[in-house]
């Protein structure tokens, strides 16, 4: 790919049959082993928009789709810039051979990092076409006016885009040294037609008609079925292995063993199940796997007693010996992604005459990493491998690694036939790189007027972005000299205190860890919002009023969210009587995304249950490109908040992962889902920020604070059960 000039590259991939294409220069090459981190925001990155000879707009979707629908938002931006309807855009998810590498889809970065380059690309395309119109009409460019799907003039000389492109391919290359054309998307004075419209996501029709969209749906002639054994942790080694029963399984094609990799290929899925049942393996662990071990490692109090934690994140005139009003320990559980689609991949090896020796169909957040890693795994050149990304049935941070793809590739290589690997639910839980458990010590003091004087938040959590087995062993110690961007997320407090310290240690845990929706921000903000709520109650203050005061005017957008969510919540009176309570929480995610949530709960003595009956959520994440999808993300995060606060716990013990299916890892069902009211504070003058994981920082705290109002019980440990309330469980 790199050998081709960009123009030839475009033609070779069949993308350009003519028309005009915008191409952002891609100046960095990705590391083979690390996640793909090429963002198109400044010197590096790409985005593609094209007007074809028939005048039709096509765009390559730069984001991997898992329900967040950011490509729809980006298409709205293109439509706004080109004065067309989003319905007139044809979107194509590129294979890894169609375009140079694009950054991993993660961290709610899609709108933040891609909206501006996408708008710029489309605007450059528009202005190039405007110049052509001017030439064609023999007029100066400033007399060429925008019109739907093209241009017009004061004399009503209409030109549509199809009139301005022909069969000769043309390409505009982005030049940073030249000023950008006007970007309609970010012009707050402009009455927008596409941006800000509650547009239906582009794939919706396929999802309700059962069309093939996921990796396992891809039709494949002559496909065989396979699976491989999974260790409880990735650094485990096989201790004993007995495969003697496998050979007798009807439908077996091949038992494959390559070092620690043991898998089977069979004619049908049930034969795979039968063959896998005949593999008996025990694992050699480097460290015991149980809750006590984790509790010991993350014991924040023991570590703080020894001195400073590993990273002092923020510090101003810190006092260790203030007169603490609040001195609370919060413990947050391990959690698993539990996306609805267990991962699946299909791999096919081709003869050397084919365009690609190895083809992989998979749903992944990082297709270019899959391509690099499959090349590394097989010894093929990167150019010989292609990944066709498919829709993911949920991602939530859990699908960035070469895992199910590896199973399919290794098995297909041995049997020389295409192999489909469909993980079963137990594989999905076993291989979950879970959100690490964390322990937080929060100490708060107030002055004589009740204002915060001292803030001290110390926490210990597992590594997230720099977790073991996420990066190669040689790279990890170097990377860990810096901060783990996952474990610091959520550490910044919006509340002002003259004496202030936030410190933390990030550590290895005995289980594999990774990126889970909102990373450390969910746990950290739950702890913080609980602690400040408790302080307000101790001081006899209304928690919402108190929080707004303690923001000291520094965070007007967050304050507005909190005020708006209170208005929204108060529209629906809380039932009178024992067991009802309403709580609030708020936070700023990644410095850009402001959120506040309320929760109404009913703690029912009779049924001994905690029910979240209603929640409200308000976000200000800058420009709201697609308000409906912003609301959808809030609703989704509300569901996850209920799971995190009341239900989910990734169970480990006896040196293995105990959670294996939805009967022992419970996630919210319909009856657990509160009704939800949402609102958006739109900021037409601010760039859009992501919303995929924002509300999950506020939801759990709102629920815990509602339980405090309903029962007087301050939850110190997640998930909260009715028994915890009854027994007054501590951290």
């Amino acid at each position: 790919m790199a050998k081709l000039s960009r123009r030839n590259f475009l033609i070779a991939t069949g993308w350009v049959a003519g028309g005009v294409t915008v191409l952002y220069a891609m100046r960095n090459r990705a590391l083979t082993v690390a996640p793909t981190i090429i963002f198109p925001n400044s010197a590096s990155g790409i985005t593609w928009v094209q007007i074809r000879p028939d005048g039709k707009c096509m765009m390559y979707f730069s984001r991997m789709e898992m329900g967040q629908n950011s490509n729809t938002g980006l298409a709205q931006i293109v439509a706004e810039e080109l004065n067309i309807n989003i319905e007139d855009i044809e979107g194509v998810t590129p294979s890894t051979s169609d375009v140079p590498p694009i950054a991993v889809t993660a961290g709610s970065m899609s709108m933040t990092a891609f909206s501006h380059p996408t708008a710029a690309a489309a605007a450059m395309l528009r202005e190039t076409l405007r110049a052509r119109a001017a030439t064609k009409l023999n007029k100066s460019v400033d007399l060429i006016l925008d019109a739907p799907g093209g241009f017009t003039t004061a004399e009503n000389q209409q030109l549509v885009y199809a009139d301005l492109v022909d069969d000769t391919p043309a390409m505009i290359e982005f030049d940073e040294s030249k000023p950008l054309p006007a970007l309609y998307t970010f012009d707050k004075t402009r009455a927008k037609k596409q941006v800000g419209r509650a547009t239906r996501p582009l794939d919706m029709q396929k999802l309700i008609t059962g069309a093939p969209v996921y990796a396992a749906d891809v039709p494949m002639d002559g496909v065989l079925y396979g699976r491989a054994i999974k260790p409880p942790v990735r650094n485990a080694r096989i201790d004993t292995l007995d495969t003697s029963g496998v050979e007798g399984v009807k439908g077996l094609i091949k038992l494959v063993r390559e070092d620690e990799f043991v898998g089977v290929v069979c004619k049908t899925p049930s034969a795979v199940d039968a063959a896998m049942d005949q593999i008996n393996v025990t694992w050699k662990l480097e460290q015991p796997i149980n809750d006590d071990e984790i509790a010991k490692i993350i014991d924040v109090d023991a570590r703080m007693a020894e001195g400073d934690l590993e990273h002092i994140f923020e510090e101003t005139d810190h006092r260790k010996d203030a007169d603490w009003h609040i001195d609370l320990r919060f413990d947050v559980q391990n959690q698993s992604h539990a996306m609805q689609e267990p991962r699946a991949a299909i791999a096919r090896f081709n003869p050397s005459t084919a365009a690609h020796r190895l083809e992989i169909w998979t749903g992944t957040q990082d297709p270019w990493a899959m391509k690099r890693l499959a090349a590394l795994d097989t010894g093929l050149d990167e150019d010989e491998v292609v990944v066709y990304p498919q829709r993911m049935g949920g991602g939530f941070g859990g699908r960035e690694h070469y895992e199910v793809e590896m199973d399919a590739v290794r098995l297909a290589r041995v049997v020389k036939r295409p192999v489909k690997v469909q993980w079963v639910r137990a594989d999905e839980f076993m291989c979950s790189r879970s959100r690490p458990a964390s322990a937080h010590r929060i100490r708060l003091a107030a002055d004589e007027k009740g204002n915060l004087s001292d803030w001290w938040h110390g926490y210990v959590t597992g590594h997230i972005v720099l977790a073991r087995e996420r990066l190669p062993g040689w790279l990890l110690p170097l990377m860990r000299l810096g901060e783990d961007i996952g474990t610091v997320r959520g550490a910044v407090t919006p509340y002002a205190a003259p004496h202030h310290r936030v410190e933390f240690s990030d550590v290895d845990l005995p289980i594999d860890l990774g990126v889970w929706r909102s990373l450390n921000a969910g746990p950290a903000v739950f702890a913080r919002e609980s602690a400040v709520d408790e302080l307000a109650l101790q001081l006899g203050r209304d928690p919402v009023d108190y929080k707004i005061e303690q923001m000291a005017g520094n965070h007007p957008r967050l304050q507005a969210c909190l005020e708006r969510v209170r208005e929204l919540a108060e529209k629906r009176p809380l039932p009178k009587g024992k067991g009802y309570g309403r709580g609030y929480a708020c936070g700023i995610y990644e410095h850009r995304c402001n959120v506040a949530a309320s929760a109404d709960v009913f703690v029912d003595e009779k049924t001994q249950t905690i029910k979240v009956t209603h929640m409200c959520c308000v976000e200000d994440v800058g420009l709201a490109v697609n308000p409906d999808q912003l609301r959808a993300q809030m609703e989704s995060n509300i569901a996850w908040s209920v799971g995190m606060a009341l239900m989910e716990k990734y169970e480990i013990g006896d040196d293995t992962i105990q959670s294996s299916n939805f009967d022992n890892y419970t996630i919210p069902r319909m009856a657990d889902m509160p009704s939800v009211d949402t609102d958006i504070i739109d900021q037409p003058g601010l760039p859009p920020a992501g919303a995929g994981e924002v509300a999950l920082i506020a939801g759990p705290g709102a629920i815990a604070n509602a339980i405090r109002q309903a029962t007087g019980y301050r939850a110190l440990s997640l998930p909260i059960s009715y028994d915890d309330i009854k027994t007054g469980k501590k951290a």
Partner: protein, 156 residues
């Protein structure tokens, strides 16, 4: 062995007769709208109708289905592409996010409306309790079912 699926008689080749219904639908007959998720009947992603009753197709040996009538999500829309009122309501409420569970949700919702043309929230929560949606589209599903109920009542 033959199956009646979405009104058509389909042959099941010998190699596939020991599989469960879901595998046969997806891998042998190419009807991939029903999805595999938990394998133990806990999530509802694979729900289809067998003789008019919703069942988890991952739990049913295909050999039990001979001579029975199977309906999958692919049967909901008319041949000309006109959507079933439930599908239209799903669209109007923009229900799906990742989408993986939605075929099963639709088939269960269809069964609910066949039994109870005017369900309230509690009826819906009970009927849909076997269906997981990790994206949390539950509140929109409630709204979509009520919307479809209205449309279907007006039409009848």
């Amino acid at each position: 062995m033959r199956l009646k699926v979405n009104g058509d008689m389909r042959d099941v080749a010998e190699d596939w007769q020991d599989e469960n219904l879901l595998v046969v639908l997806r891998e042998h007959l190419g009807l991939v709208g029903s999805r595999f998720s938990c394998g133990i009947g806990q999530c509802g992603a694979c729900v289809v109708h067998v003789d008019g009753e919703p069942v988890s197709s991952c739990l049913v040996p295909v050999s039990d289905i001979e001579n029975k009538e199977v309906l999958t999500v692919e049967s909901l829309a008319d041949a000309d592409g006109t959507l079933h009122p439930l599908q239209q309501a799903w669209l109007d409420e923009n229900v799906p996010q990742c989408g993986y569970c939605q075929s099963g949700q639709l088939m269960q919702a269809l069964s609910l409306l066949q039994r109870n043309p005017n369900p309230n929230d509690a009826d819906i929560d009970t009927a849909m309790s076997g269906h997981l949606c990790r994206c949390g589209t539950y509140d929109r599903i409630r709204k979509a079912i009520k919307r479809a109920a209205l449309t279907m009542q007006e039409a009848s």
